[in-house]
């Protein structure tokens, strides 16, 4: 009897440890990490652009986030300025409500691709530190810069300088 309870106790301890480890398995994506494929996380709202060999700017936003609203015109300008040289801007909405997502996109009419993460699967993979957060991914698919928050002209200037540098780099096989 005692032996059985002790064995059971051990099993419970191991299961609890495994549960704790599993819960922490998704770590924040930081510079140097590979950015998850846009096909990986159940994104809807449109077709993900072909990004192989491109410099990618991925922005996470929500309709209830004021800096996200301020960032959209800046990302539209950036997309217009650098698309021809190989930049793709993709903004991923994480609203709970599809109607809030659609209304936001309809109102701001961004000049770049917007996708919707209805189940928060993709954003959970990336573990963004705040809203909004944008990731600059180089031609080989590696995250090079992370911008938590959007601080107007300052952020736009920084992102433009980083994009220029990444566009000048040679493509490396993934």
């Amino acid at each position: 009897m005692v032996a059985a309870v002790t064995r059971l106790t051990r099993i419970v301890c191991m299961a609890a440890t495994a549960a704790a480890l599993t819960a922490q398995s998704h770590a924040q994506v930081v510079p140097g990490n590979s950015f998850p494929s846009l096909a990986a996380g159940g994104l809807s709202g449109g077709k993900a652009p072909e990004t192989a060999g491109s410099v990618l700017l991925v922005d996470f936003w929500a309709s209830w986030c004021a800096p996200c609203k301020a960032s959209f015109p800046a990302y539209s300008r950036i997309q217009a300025a650098y698309a021809a040289r190989g930049l793709a801007v993709v903004a991923i909405g994480v609203d709970d409500s599809p109607s809030a997502y659609e209304a936001f996109v309809a109102k701001l009419r961004p000049g770049f691709t917007t996708l919707y993460d209805p189940q928060h699967k993709f954003v959970s993979l990336v573990q963004v530190p705040t809203m909004p957060t944008s990731y600059l991914v180089d031609r080989s698919g590696r995250v090079r810069f992370v911008h938590p928050g959007f601080h107007g002209d300052q952020t736009e200037r920084e992102i433009r300088a980083e994009i220029e540098a990444l566009l000048d780099e040679q493509s490396v096989a993934r």
Partner: protein, 79 residues
């Protein structure tokens, strides 16, 4: 002796179970992308400036004390 060991083992198992609960981030914190409700204006305790000043006046008159409203703000925690 065996009884004590059994109790100790059970205690350790319970501690492990509770600790694993605390270690689950999804159970203990609201992620940045889950703050839609917190960002709503109705979550802001200071959204009605007149109402707040009247409540504070009543509190001051009744309790002969003021201040101490250390209520944390709401909001989406953006930027």
């Amino acid at each position: 002796m065996k009884r004590n060991r059994l109790k100790l083992s059970l205690l350790a198992a319970l501690a492990a179970v509770f600790q694993s609960g605390c270690a689950t981030p999804s159970a203990v914190r609201v992620h940045p992308w889950e703050r839609a409700s917190l960002a709503d204006d109705t979550m802001n305790p200071d959204r009605d400036a007149l109402g707040t000043s009247m409540t504070e006046h009543v509190f001051f008159s009744r309790e002969a004390a003021s201040g101490g409203r250390g209520v944390g703000g709401s909001g989406c925690g953006c930027n």
